[in-house]
Protein backbone atom coordinates (compact mmCIF):
# COMPACT_ATOMS: atom_id res chain seq x y z
CA UNK A 1 0.00 0.00 0.00
CA UNK A 2 2.91 2.39 0.65
CA UNK A 3 3.60 3.08 -3.07
CA UNK A 4 -0.06 4.03 -3.52
CA UNK A 5 0.07 6.31 -0.47
CA UNK A 6 3.19 8.03 -1.80
CA UNK A 7 1.59 8.54 -5.21
CA UNK A 8 -1.66 9.83 -3.73
CA UNK A 9 0.23 12.23 -1.45
CA UNK A 10 2.09 13.75 -4.41
CA UNK A 11 -1.16 13.90 -6.40
CA UNK A 12 -2.84 15.63 -3.42
CA UNK A 13 -0.15 18.34 -3.41
CA UNK A 14 -0.74 18.90 -7.12
CA UNK A 15 -4.51 18.94 -6.53
CA UNK A 16 -4.03 21.86 -4.12
CA UNK A 17 -2.47 23.81 -7.01
CA UNK A 18 -4.93 22.60 -9.68
CA UNK A 19 -7.97 23.51 -7.60
CA UNK A 20 -6.37 26.51 -5.92
CA UNK A 21 -5.57 28.35 -9.15
CA UNK A 22 -9.25 28.64 -10.24
CA UNK A 23 -11.09 28.37 -6.89
CA UNK A 24 -8.97 30.06 -4.20
CA UNK A 25 -6.24 32.10 -5.95
CA UNK A 26 -6.24 34.70 -3.14
CA UNK A 27 -5.34 32.03 -0.56
CA UNK A 28 -2.47 30.77 -2.75
CA UNK A 29 -1.24 34.36 -3.12
CA UNK A 30 -1.09 35.00 0.67
CA UNK A 31 2.49 35.85 1.78
CA UNK A 32 4.06 33.21 4.01
CA UNK A 33 7.74 34.12 4.42
CA UNK A 34 9.81 36.73 2.55
CA UNK A 35 9.04 36.55 -1.16
CA UNK A 36 7.25 33.21 -0.70
CA UNK A 37 3.47 33.01 -0.84
CA UNK A 38 1.45 29.87 0.01
CA UNK A 39 1.32 28.74 -3.62
CA UNK A 40 5.10 29.01 -3.98
CA UNK A 41 5.54 26.94 -0.81
CA UNK A 42 3.19 24.22 -2.14
CA UNK A 43 5.09 24.31 -5.46
CA UNK A 44 8.41 23.91 -3.62
CA UNK A 45 6.98 20.99 -1.61
CA UNK A 46 5.72 19.37 -4.82
CA UNK A 47 9.29 19.52 -6.15
CA UNK A 48 11.03 18.20 -3.04
CA UNK A 49 8.65 15.74 -1.33
CA UNK A 50 8.55 13.30 -4.30
CA UNK A 51 12.36 13.17 -4.28
CA UNK A 52 12.38 12.29 -0.57
CA UNK A 53 9.65 9.69 -1.10
CA UNK A 54 11.49 8.23 -4.10
CA UNK A 55 14.66 7.89 -2.02
CA UNK A 56 12.64 6.18 0.75
CA UNK A 57 10.99 3.90 -1.79
CA UNK A 58 14.33 2.84 -3.29
CA UNK A 59 15.66 2.06 0.19
CA UNK A 60 12.56 0.03 1.06
CA UNK A 61 12.73 -1.97 -2.18
CA UNK A 62 16.43 -2.67 -1.65
CA UNK A 63 15.69 -3.86 1.90
CA UNK A 64 12.87 -6.10 0.59
CA UNK A 65 15.23 -7.62 -1.94
CA UNK A 66 17.82 -8.40 0.76
CA UNK A 67 15.12 -10.09 2.92
Amino acid sequence: MLPWLYSLFVLALFLVLMTGVPIFPEALSKPVAGIFNLGMVVFALLHTVPLALAWLHLKQRDAQKKD
Binding site: E26, L28, M40
Partner: protein, 508 residues
Protein backbone atom coordinates in the same frame (compact mmCIF):
# COMPACT_ATOMS: atom_id res chain seq x y z
CA UNK B 1 28.12 32.94 -32.70
CA UNK B 2 24.80 31.09 -32.36
CA UNK B 3 25.39 29.45 -35.77
CA UNK B 4 28.86 28.27 -34.66
CA UNK B 5 27.48 26.55 -31.53
CA UNK B 6 24.58 25.16 -33.59
CA UNK B 7 27.07 23.55 -36.02
CA UNK B 8 29.13 22.24 -33.09
CA UNK B 9 26.05 20.54 -31.59
CA UNK B 10 25.18 18.98 -34.96
CA UNK B 11 28.78 17.75 -35.44
CA UNK B 12 28.94 16.22 -31.93
CA UNK B 13 25.57 14.43 -32.29
CA UNK B 14 26.51 13.09 -35.76
CA UNK B 15 29.79 11.79 -34.30
CA UNK B 16 27.85 10.11 -31.48
CA UNK B 17 25.52 8.49 -34.01
CA UNK B 18 28.34 7.03 -36.12
CA UNK B 19 29.98 5.68 -32.96
CA UNK B 20 26.68 4.13 -31.79
CA UNK B 21 25.96 2.71 -35.26
CA UNK B 22 28.98 0.41 -34.97
CA UNK B 23 27.45 -1.09 -31.83
CA UNK B 24 23.92 -1.47 -33.22
CA UNK B 25 23.57 -4.86 -34.90
CA UNK B 26 20.56 -6.67 -33.42
CA UNK B 27 16.92 -5.70 -32.78
CA UNK B 28 17.80 -5.63 -29.05
CA UNK B 29 20.54 -3.06 -29.79
CA UNK B 30 18.22 -0.99 -31.98
CA UNK B 31 15.20 -0.81 -29.65
CA UNK B 32 16.64 -0.95 -26.13
CA UNK B 33 20.45 -0.71 -26.44
CA UNK B 34 20.47 -4.37 -25.29
CA UNK B 35 19.51 -3.24 -21.77
CA UNK B 36 23.07 -2.05 -21.13
CA UNK B 37 22.37 1.53 -20.06
CA UNK B 38 23.11 2.25 -16.38
CA UNK B 39 20.45 3.58 -13.99
CA UNK B 40 22.00 7.05 -13.61
CA UNK B 41 22.70 7.45 -17.34
CA UNK B 42 19.20 6.30 -18.19
CA UNK B 43 17.79 8.80 -15.68
CA UNK B 44 19.60 11.60 -17.48
CA UNK B 45 18.39 10.24 -20.82
CA UNK B 46 14.79 10.18 -19.54
CA UNK B 47 15.17 13.79 -18.39
CA UNK B 48 16.64 14.57 -21.82
CA UNK B 49 13.72 12.79 -23.47
CA UNK B 50 11.12 14.63 -21.39
CA UNK B 51 12.35 18.22 -21.05
CA UNK B 52 11.37 19.76 -24.36
CA UNK B 53 11.63 23.27 -25.69
CA UNK B 54 8.12 23.78 -24.24
CA UNK B 55 9.66 23.63 -20.73
CA UNK B 56 12.57 25.97 -21.37
CA UNK B 57 10.88 28.47 -23.69
CA UNK B 58 7.13 27.92 -23.31
CA UNK B 59 6.98 27.92 -19.50
CA UNK B 60 9.13 31.06 -19.22
CA UNK B 61 6.70 32.68 -21.64
CA UNK B 62 3.70 31.42 -19.61
CA UNK B 63 5.19 32.92 -16.43
CA UNK B 64 5.64 36.21 -18.25
CA UNK B 65 2.08 36.16 -19.61
CA UNK B 66 0.14 34.39 -16.84
CA UNK B 67 2.43 34.40 -13.79
CA UNK B 68 2.00 31.77 -11.08
CA UNK B 69 -0.48 29.60 -13.05
CA UNK B 70 2.42 28.02 -14.97
CA UNK B 71 2.54 25.67 -11.94
CA UNK B 72 -0.08 23.48 -13.63
CA UNK B 73 2.31 22.79 -16.52
CA UNK B 74 5.34 22.48 -14.24
CA UNK B 75 3.74 20.36 -11.51
CA UNK B 76 2.29 17.62 -13.73
CA UNK B 77 5.61 15.86 -14.55
CA UNK B 78 6.36 15.49 -10.84
CA UNK B 79 3.12 13.55 -10.36
CA UNK B 80 3.68 11.55 -13.57
CA UNK B 81 7.20 10.49 -12.55
CA UNK B 82 6.00 9.68 -9.01
CA UNK B 83 3.35 7.35 -10.50
CA UNK B 84 6.05 5.79 -12.68
CA UNK B 85 8.50 5.25 -9.79
CA UNK B 86 6.04 4.05 -7.17
CA UNK B 87 3.54 2.11 -9.28
CA UNK B 88 4.89 1.16 -12.69
CA UNK B 89 8.66 0.80 -13.18
CA UNK B 90 8.95 -2.63 -11.54
CA UNK B 91 6.38 -4.17 -13.84
CA UNK B 92 7.69 -2.31 -16.89
CA UNK B 93 11.15 -3.80 -16.48
CA UNK B 94 9.96 -7.20 -15.26
CA UNK B 95 7.51 -7.89 -18.10
CA UNK B 96 8.50 -5.52 -20.90
CA UNK B 97 11.00 -6.05 -23.69
CA UNK B 98 10.68 -3.36 -26.38
CA UNK B 99 7.39 -1.50 -25.84
CA UNK B 100 4.94 -0.89 -22.97
CA UNK B 101 2.46 -3.13 -24.82
CA UNK B 102 4.51 -6.15 -23.73
CA UNK B 103 3.21 -5.61 -20.17
CA UNK B 104 -0.48 -5.65 -21.15
CA UNK B 105 0.17 -8.63 -23.45
CA UNK B 106 1.58 -10.60 -20.53
CA UNK B 107 -2.01 -11.15 -19.35
CA UNK B 108 -4.33 -10.03 -22.20
CA UNK B 109 -4.78 -11.46 -25.72
CA UNK B 110 -1.75 -10.36 -27.70
CA UNK B 111 -2.94 -9.50 -31.22
CA UNK B 112 -5.83 -7.06 -30.54
CA UNK B 113 -3.87 -5.33 -27.76
CA UNK B 114 -0.79 -4.89 -29.95
CA UNK B 115 -2.84 -3.52 -32.86
CA UNK B 116 -4.67 -1.06 -30.59
CA UNK B 117 -1.52 0.03 -28.74
CA UNK B 118 0.43 0.44 -31.97
CA UNK B 119 -2.30 2.69 -33.39
CA UNK B 120 -2.55 4.81 -30.21
CA UNK B 121 1.26 5.07 -29.96
CA UNK B 122 1.54 6.08 -33.62
CA UNK B 123 -1.18 8.73 -33.30
CA UNK B 124 0.40 10.09 -30.10
CA UNK B 125 3.95 10.09 -31.49
CA UNK B 126 2.99 11.60 -34.86
CA UNK B 127 0.95 14.40 -33.25
CA UNK B 128 3.62 15.12 -30.65
CA UNK B 129 6.38 15.01 -33.26
CA UNK B 130 4.42 17.43 -35.39
CA UNK B 131 4.08 19.78 -32.39
CA UNK B 132 7.80 19.54 -31.63
CA UNK B 133 8.81 20.08 -35.25
CA UNK B 134 6.51 23.12 -35.63
CA UNK B 135 8.12 24.57 -32.48
CA UNK B 136 11.59 23.66 -33.70
CA UNK B 137 11.03 25.29 -37.09
CA UNK B 138 9.85 28.53 -35.51
CA UNK B 139 12.66 28.50 -32.94
CA UNK B 140 15.45 27.83 -35.42
CA UNK B 141 14.00 30.47 -37.74
CA UNK B 142 14.29 33.08 -34.98
CA UNK B 143 17.56 31.88 -33.45
CA UNK B 144 19.59 31.26 -36.57
CA UNK B 145 17.74 33.21 -39.26
CA UNK B 146 17.05 30.05 -41.30
CA UNK B 147 13.71 29.91 -43.24
CA UNK B 148 10.98 27.88 -41.48
CA UNK B 149 10.67 25.11 -44.12
CA UNK B 150 14.47 24.65 -44.26
CA UNK B 151 14.58 24.45 -40.45
CA UNK B 152 11.89 21.72 -40.49
CA UNK B 153 13.85 19.76 -43.11
CA UNK B 154 17.07 20.04 -41.04
CA UNK B 155 15.40 18.82 -37.83
CA UNK B 156 13.55 15.90 -39.45
CA UNK B 157 16.62 14.81 -41.44
CA UNK B 158 18.77 14.76 -38.31
CA UNK B 159 16.00 12.91 -36.44
CA UNK B 160 15.84 10.19 -39.13
CA UNK B 161 19.65 9.98 -39.19
CA UNK B 162 20.03 9.49 -35.40
CA UNK B 163 17.33 6.84 -35.16
CA UNK B 164 17.82 4.91 -38.43
CA UNK B 165 21.61 4.75 -38.10
CA UNK B 166 22.23 4.72 -34.37
CA UNK B 167 19.00 3.33 -32.87
CA UNK B 168 18.46 3.50 -29.11
CA UNK B 169 22.16 3.83 -28.25
CA UNK B 170 22.62 6.99 -30.34
CA UNK B 171 19.30 8.36 -29.10
CA UNK B 172 20.34 7.69 -25.49
CA UNK B 173 23.69 9.46 -25.86
CA UNK B 174 22.12 12.42 -27.65
CA UNK B 175 19.59 12.66 -24.80
CA UNK B 176 22.25 12.40 -22.09
CA UNK B 177 24.37 15.08 -23.82
CA UNK B 178 21.34 17.34 -24.08
CA UNK B 179 20.29 16.76 -20.43
CA UNK B 180 23.78 17.63 -19.11
CA UNK B 181 24.02 20.70 -21.37
CA UNK B 182 20.51 21.81 -20.38
CA UNK B 183 21.09 21.48 -16.63
CA UNK B 184 24.42 23.36 -16.93
CA UNK B 185 22.87 26.02 -19.19
CA UNK B 186 19.85 26.61 -17.00
CA UNK B 187 21.95 26.73 -13.83
CA UNK B 188 24.27 29.29 -15.45
CA UNK B 189 21.31 31.33 -16.68
CA UNK B 190 19.75 31.34 -13.20
CA UNK B 191 23.05 32.28 -11.51
CA UNK B 192 23.79 35.07 -14.01
CA UNK B 193 20.23 36.40 -13.55
CA UNK B 194 20.57 36.39 -9.77
CA UNK B 195 23.99 38.06 -10.07
CA UNK B 196 22.25 41.00 -11.80
CA UNK B 197 20.39 41.52 -8.49
CA UNK B 198 23.36 40.76 -6.20
CA UNK B 199 21.70 37.42 -5.38
CA UNK B 200 18.86 39.28 -3.68
CA UNK B 201 15.52 37.54 -4.44
CA UNK B 202 13.58 40.44 -2.93
CA UNK B 203 15.12 42.89 -5.41
CA UNK B 204 14.47 40.50 -8.33
CA UNK B 205 10.81 40.02 -7.40
CA UNK B 206 10.27 43.74 -6.68
CA UNK B 207 11.21 44.60 -10.28
CA UNK B 208 9.43 41.55 -11.75
CA UNK B 209 6.20 42.44 -9.88
CA UNK B 210 6.38 46.06 -11.05
CA UNK B 211 7.09 44.95 -14.63
CA UNK B 212 4.54 42.10 -14.98
CA UNK B 213 2.22 42.77 -17.95
CA UNK B 214 -0.95 41.76 -16.02
CA UNK B 215 -0.32 44.57 -13.52
CA UNK B 216 -0.38 41.99 -10.69
CA UNK B 217 2.58 40.49 -8.83
CA UNK B 218 4.28 37.82 -10.96
CA UNK B 219 3.51 35.08 -8.40
CA UNK B 220 -0.19 35.95 -7.95
CA UNK B 221 -2.45 33.00 -8.83
CA UNK B 222 -5.32 33.27 -11.31
CA UNK B 223 -3.53 34.70 -14.37
CA UNK B 224 -4.66 31.93 -16.76
CA UNK B 225 -8.31 32.59 -15.80
CA UNK B 226 -9.15 28.85 -15.88
CA UNK B 227 -12.42 27.31 -14.67
CA UNK B 228 -12.10 24.54 -12.07
CA UNK B 229 -12.91 21.96 -14.78
CA UNK B 230 -10.33 23.34 -17.22
CA UNK B 231 -7.65 23.43 -14.54
CA UNK B 232 -8.30 19.82 -13.44
CA UNK B 233 -8.60 18.68 -17.05
CA UNK B 234 -5.32 20.31 -18.07
CA UNK B 235 -3.42 19.12 -14.99
CA UNK B 236 -4.67 15.52 -15.01
CA UNK B 237 -4.25 15.09 -18.76
CA UNK B 238 -0.63 16.24 -18.46
CA UNK B 239 -0.02 13.85 -15.50
CA UNK B 240 -1.64 10.78 -17.08
CA UNK B 241 -0.48 11.67 -20.59
CA UNK B 242 3.14 11.85 -19.49
CA UNK B 243 2.85 8.63 -17.45
CA UNK B 244 1.47 6.98 -20.61
CA UNK B 245 3.96 8.51 -23.06
CA UNK B 246 5.45 5.65 -25.12
CA UNK B 247 8.81 7.38 -25.64
CA UNK B 248 9.32 7.73 -21.88
CA UNK B 249 8.03 4.24 -21.06
CA UNK B 250 10.35 2.48 -23.50
CA UNK B 251 13.39 4.02 -21.80
CA UNK B 252 12.78 1.69 -18.82
CA UNK B 253 13.64 -1.31 -21.04
CA UNK B 254 17.16 -0.03 -21.67
CA UNK B 255 18.45 -0.80 -18.16
CA UNK B 256 19.57 -4.21 -16.87
CA UNK B 257 17.09 -4.69 -13.99
CA UNK B 258 14.13 -3.29 -12.03
CA UNK B 259 16.40 -1.60 -9.47
CA UNK B 260 18.15 0.35 -12.22
CA UNK B 261 14.74 1.23 -13.69
CA UNK B 262 13.57 2.68 -10.35
CA UNK B 263 16.90 4.47 -9.92
CA UNK B 264 16.67 5.99 -13.40
CA UNK B 265 13.14 7.30 -12.74
CA UNK B 266 14.39 8.88 -9.50
CA UNK B 267 17.36 10.53 -11.26
CA UNK B 268 15.02 11.86 -13.96
CA UNK B 269 12.66 13.16 -11.27
CA UNK B 270 15.57 14.99 -9.59
CA UNK B 271 16.77 16.57 -12.84
CA UNK B 272 13.26 17.65 -13.84
CA UNK B 273 12.51 19.07 -10.36
CA UNK B 274 15.77 21.06 -10.45
CA UNK B 275 15.13 22.49 -13.93
CA UNK B 276 11.50 23.32 -13.02
CA UNK B 277 12.50 25.19 -9.87
CA UNK B 278 15.20 27.19 -11.67
CA UNK B 279 12.70 28.22 -14.36
CA UNK B 280 9.86 28.95 -11.93
CA UNK B 281 11.71 30.80 -9.19
CA UNK B 282 14.46 32.58 -11.14
CA UNK B 283 14.28 32.51 -14.95
CA UNK B 284 10.55 33.32 -15.24
CA UNK B 285 10.84 36.24 -12.85
CA UNK B 286 14.18 37.29 -14.41
CA UNK B 287 12.62 37.42 -17.89
CA UNK B 288 9.78 39.54 -16.56
CA UNK B 289 12.16 41.89 -14.78
CA UNK B 290 14.91 42.26 -17.40
CA UNK B 291 13.37 41.51 -20.81
CA UNK B 292 9.72 42.58 -20.77
CA UNK B 293 9.48 46.18 -21.92
CA UNK B 294 13.23 46.32 -22.66
CA UNK B 295 13.50 48.16 -25.99
CA UNK B 296 16.64 46.18 -26.89
CA UNK B 297 14.40 43.12 -27.35
CA UNK B 298 11.44 44.76 -29.05
CA UNK B 299 10.64 44.88 -32.76
CA UNK B 300 9.26 47.84 -34.72
CA UNK B 301 5.71 47.09 -33.52
CA UNK B 302 6.83 47.37 -29.90
CA UNK B 303 6.31 43.66 -29.12
CA UNK B 304 8.97 41.17 -28.08
CA UNK B 305 11.34 40.13 -30.89
CA UNK B 306 10.38 36.55 -31.92
CA UNK B 307 7.37 36.52 -29.58
CA UNK B 308 7.18 35.83 -25.85
CA UNK B 309 8.48 32.27 -26.35
CA UNK B 310 11.88 33.90 -26.81
CA UNK B 311 11.93 35.52 -23.37
CA UNK B 312 14.40 32.96 -21.91
CA UNK B 313 16.74 33.41 -24.91
CA UNK B 314 16.59 37.22 -24.62
CA UNK B 315 17.29 36.85 -20.89
CA UNK B 316 20.40 34.82 -21.76
CA UNK B 317 21.54 37.70 -23.99
CA UNK B 318 20.70 40.31 -21.35
CA UNK B 319 22.70 38.63 -18.57
CA UNK B 320 25.44 36.82 -20.53
CA UNK B 321 25.92 38.68 -23.80
CA UNK B 322 26.34 37.31 -27.34
CA UNK B 323 28.42 34.22 -26.45
CA UNK B 324 26.05 33.01 -23.73
CA UNK B 325 23.08 33.62 -26.04
CA UNK B 326 24.79 31.42 -28.67
CA UNK B 327 25.36 28.65 -26.12
CA UNK B 328 21.74 28.75 -24.88
CA UNK B 329 20.39 28.81 -28.45
CA UNK B 330 22.45 25.71 -29.27
CA UNK B 331 21.18 24.02 -26.07
CA UNK B 332 17.58 24.83 -27.08
CA UNK B 333 18.31 23.23 -30.46
CA UNK B 334 19.85 20.12 -28.81
CA UNK B 335 16.73 19.95 -26.62
CA UNK B 336 14.53 19.63 -29.69
CA UNK B 337 16.75 17.00 -31.33
CA UNK B 338 16.77 14.75 -28.26
CA UNK B 339 12.98 14.85 -27.85
CA UNK B 340 12.16 14.18 -31.52
CA UNK B 341 14.68 11.30 -31.63
CA UNK B 342 13.02 9.63 -28.61
CA UNK B 343 9.53 10.09 -30.05
CA UNK B 344 10.58 8.69 -33.43
CA UNK B 345 12.08 5.61 -31.81
CA UNK B 346 8.83 5.00 -29.87
CA UNK B 347 6.75 5.30 -33.05
CA UNK B 348 9.11 3.02 -35.00
CA UNK B 349 9.03 0.42 -32.22
CA UNK B 350 5.22 0.43 -32.25
CA UNK B 351 5.20 0.04 -36.04
CA UNK B 352 7.87 -2.61 -36.39
CA UNK B 353 7.72 -4.58 -33.11
CA UNK B 354 4.00 -4.42 -32.23
CA UNK B 355 2.34 -4.07 -35.62
CA UNK B 356 4.71 -5.67 -38.15
CA UNK B 357 6.61 -8.38 -36.24
CA UNK B 358 3.91 -9.48 -33.77
CA UNK B 359 0.47 -8.52 -35.12
CA UNK B 360 1.06 -9.00 -38.88
CA UNK B 361 3.89 -11.58 -39.05
CA UNK B 362 2.83 -13.20 -35.73
CA UNK B 363 6.44 -13.39 -34.54
CA UNK B 364 7.63 -15.17 -37.72
CA UNK B 365 10.23 -12.56 -38.62
CA UNK B 366 14.03 -12.55 -38.53
CA UNK B 367 15.99 -9.87 -36.67
CA UNK B 368 17.42 -8.72 -40.01
CA UNK B 369 13.95 -8.23 -41.49
CA UNK B 370 12.75 -6.42 -38.38
CA UNK B 371 15.75 -4.08 -38.40
CA UNK B 372 15.30 -3.34 -42.11
CA UNK B 373 11.61 -2.61 -41.57
CA UNK B 374 12.45 -0.35 -38.58
CA UNK B 375 14.86 1.73 -40.65
CA UNK B 376 12.39 2.05 -43.52
CA UNK B 377 9.67 3.03 -41.03
CA UNK B 378 11.99 5.71 -39.62
CA UNK B 379 12.43 7.27 -43.05
CA UNK B 380 8.66 7.09 -43.74
CA UNK B 381 7.91 8.75 -40.38
CA UNK B 382 10.50 11.44 -41.03
CA UNK B 383 8.91 12.37 -44.36
CA UNK B 384 5.39 12.34 -42.87
CA UNK B 385 6.45 14.55 -39.95
CA UNK B 386 8.26 16.91 -42.33
CA UNK B 387 5.07 17.39 -44.39
CA UNK B 388 2.90 17.82 -41.27
CA UNK B 389 5.41 20.23 -39.73
CA UNK B 390 5.35 22.48 -42.79
CA UNK B 391 1.52 22.27 -43.07
CA UNK B 392 0.94 23.22 -39.41
CA UNK B 393 3.29 26.25 -39.42
CA UNK B 394 2.25 28.95 -36.97
CA UNK B 395 0.00 26.82 -34.72
CA UNK B 396 0.04 27.36 -30.94
CA UNK B 397 2.35 24.51 -29.93
CA UNK B 398 2.10 24.71 -26.13
CA UNK B 399 -1.67 24.39 -26.35
CA UNK B 400 -1.52 21.63 -29.00
CA UNK B 401 0.99 19.72 -26.85
CA UNK B 402 -1.46 19.74 -23.94
CA UNK B 403 -4.15 18.32 -26.26
CA UNK B 404 -1.80 15.58 -27.48
CA UNK B 405 -1.23 14.53 -23.88
CA UNK B 406 -4.96 13.73 -23.73
CA UNK B 407 -4.26 10.87 -26.16
CA UNK B 408 -1.61 9.31 -23.92
CA UNK B 409 -3.77 9.88 -20.85
CA UNK B 410 -6.87 8.28 -22.32
CA UNK B 411 -5.29 5.30 -24.13
CA UNK B 412 -1.88 4.04 -22.99
CA UNK B 413 -2.12 5.10 -19.34
CA UNK B 414 -5.47 3.42 -18.49
CA UNK B 415 -4.44 0.29 -20.41
CA UNK B 416 -1.16 0.04 -18.52
CA UNK B 417 -2.30 0.93 -14.99
CA UNK B 418 -5.40 -1.28 -15.15
CA UNK B 419 -3.43 -4.18 -16.68
CA UNK B 420 -1.03 -4.01 -13.74
CA UNK B 421 -3.47 -3.37 -10.89
CA UNK B 422 -6.99 -4.52 -11.81
CA UNK B 423 -7.69 -8.23 -12.06
CA UNK B 424 -11.06 -7.58 -13.72
CA UNK B 425 -9.63 -5.98 -16.89
CA UNK B 426 -10.35 -8.04 -20.01
CA UNK B 427 -9.03 -7.80 -23.57
CA UNK B 428 -12.45 -6.67 -24.82
CA UNK B 429 -12.68 -3.98 -22.11
CA UNK B 430 -9.14 -2.77 -22.78
CA UNK B 431 -9.59 -2.50 -26.56
CA UNK B 432 -13.10 -0.98 -26.55
CA UNK B 433 -12.22 1.38 -23.66
CA UNK B 434 -8.94 2.41 -25.25
CA UNK B 435 -10.58 2.98 -28.63
CA UNK B 436 -13.30 5.06 -26.92
CA UNK B 437 -10.63 7.16 -25.23
CA UNK B 438 -8.66 7.60 -28.46
CA UNK B 439 -11.69 8.55 -30.59
CA UNK B 440 -13.04 10.90 -27.88
CA UNK B 441 -9.67 12.62 -27.44
CA UNK B 442 -9.19 13.11 -31.20
CA UNK B 443 -12.81 14.24 -31.75
CA UNK B 444 -12.62 16.79 -28.91
CA UNK B 445 -9.29 18.04 -30.26
CA UNK B 446 -10.55 18.42 -33.85
CA UNK B 447 -13.87 20.02 -32.84
CA UNK B 448 -12.22 22.41 -30.36
CA UNK B 449 -10.92 25.94 -30.94
CA UNK B 450 -7.32 24.93 -31.87
CA UNK B 451 -8.15 22.90 -35.00
CA UNK B 452 -11.82 23.62 -35.85
CA UNK B 453 -11.19 27.37 -35.78
CA UNK B 454 -7.38 27.67 -35.96
CA UNK B 455 -6.73 25.18 -38.80
CA UNK B 456 -10.09 24.74 -40.58
CA UNK B 457 -10.94 28.44 -40.35
CA UNK B 458 -14.47 28.07 -38.92
CA UNK B 459 -15.77 31.02 -36.93
CA UNK B 460 -16.91 29.06 -33.84
CA UNK B 461 -15.67 25.79 -32.31
CA UNK B 462 -18.20 22.94 -31.89
CA UNK B 463 -16.65 22.08 -28.50
CA UNK B 464 -16.24 25.27 -26.46
CA UNK B 465 -14.11 23.78 -23.68
CA UNK B 466 -10.47 24.69 -24.30
CA UNK B 467 -9.11 21.77 -22.22
CA UNK B 468 -11.51 18.86 -22.83
CA UNK B 469 -9.09 15.99 -22.03
CA UNK B 470 -10.83 14.99 -18.79
CA UNK B 471 -13.88 13.85 -20.81
CA UNK B 472 -11.70 11.46 -22.84
CA UNK B 473 -9.91 10.13 -19.73
CA UNK B 474 -13.22 9.47 -17.94
CA UNK B 475 -14.67 7.87 -21.11
CA UNK B 476 -11.66 5.53 -21.43
CA UNK B 477 -11.54 4.42 -17.79
CA UNK B 478 -15.36 4.18 -17.57
CA UNK B 479 -15.68 2.07 -20.74
CA UNK B 480 -12.82 -0.22 -19.69
CA UNK B 481 -14.52 -0.82 -16.32
CA UNK B 482 -18.06 -1.33 -17.68
CA UNK B 483 -17.15 -3.54 -20.68
CA UNK B 484 -14.74 -5.65 -18.61
CA UNK B 485 -17.32 -6.19 -15.85
CA UNK B 486 -19.97 -7.25 -18.38
CA UNK B 487 -17.54 -9.50 -20.31
CA UNK B 488 -18.34 -13.18 -19.71
CA UNK B 489 -16.38 -14.62 -22.67
CA UNK B 490 -13.86 -17.49 -22.29
CA UNK B 491 -11.09 -15.01 -23.16
CA UNK B 492 -12.22 -12.80 -20.25
CA UNK B 493 -11.88 -15.74 -17.86
CA UNK B 494 -8.38 -16.39 -19.20
CA UNK B 495 -7.46 -12.67 -18.89
CA UNK B 496 -8.53 -12.63 -15.23
CA UNK B 497 -6.75 -15.87 -14.49
CA UNK B 498 -3.50 -14.63 -16.05
CA UNK B 499 -3.53 -11.58 -13.76
CA UNK B 500 -1.32 -13.73 -11.49
CA UNK B 501 1.70 -12.70 -13.62
CA UNK B 502 1.30 -9.22 -12.14
CA UNK B 503 1.77 -10.33 -8.52
CA UNK B 504 5.04 -9.11 -6.97
CA UNK B 505 8.09 -11.28 -7.39
CA UNK B 506 10.88 -11.42 -4.86
CA UNK B 507 13.72 -11.39 -7.36
CA UNK B 508 13.41 -7.80 -8.54
Amino acid sequence: MAIAFFLLIVAVTIGITFFAARRTRTADDFYVASGRVGGFSNGLAIAGDFISSVTLLGISATILSNGFDAVIYLGAPLVAFSILIFLMTDKLKELGRYTFTDIACARLQERPIRIFAAISTLVFAMMYLMVQVVGAGALIQVLFGIPYAVAVVIVTTLMVFYVAIGGMLATTWVQITKAVLLVLGITSLALLTLAEFNFDFTALYAIADANHPTGNPVMQAGGLDLSAFSSLSLGLSLCFGLAGSPHLLMRFFTVPDARAARQSAAVALGAIAFVNMMIFFVIGAGGTALVHGNTAYQNAEGTMEGGRNMVAMHLAHAVGGEIFFGIMAAIAFATILAVVAGLTLAAVSALSHDLYANAIRRGQVTEREQLRFSRLATVFLGVAVMVLGIAFEGQNIAYLASLVMAIGGSTNFPLLILSIYWRGLTTRGAVIGGATGLVTAIALMVLGPAIWVGVFGNSEPIVDEAYPALFAIIAAFGTMFIVSMLDRSPQAASDRERFRVMTPRADV
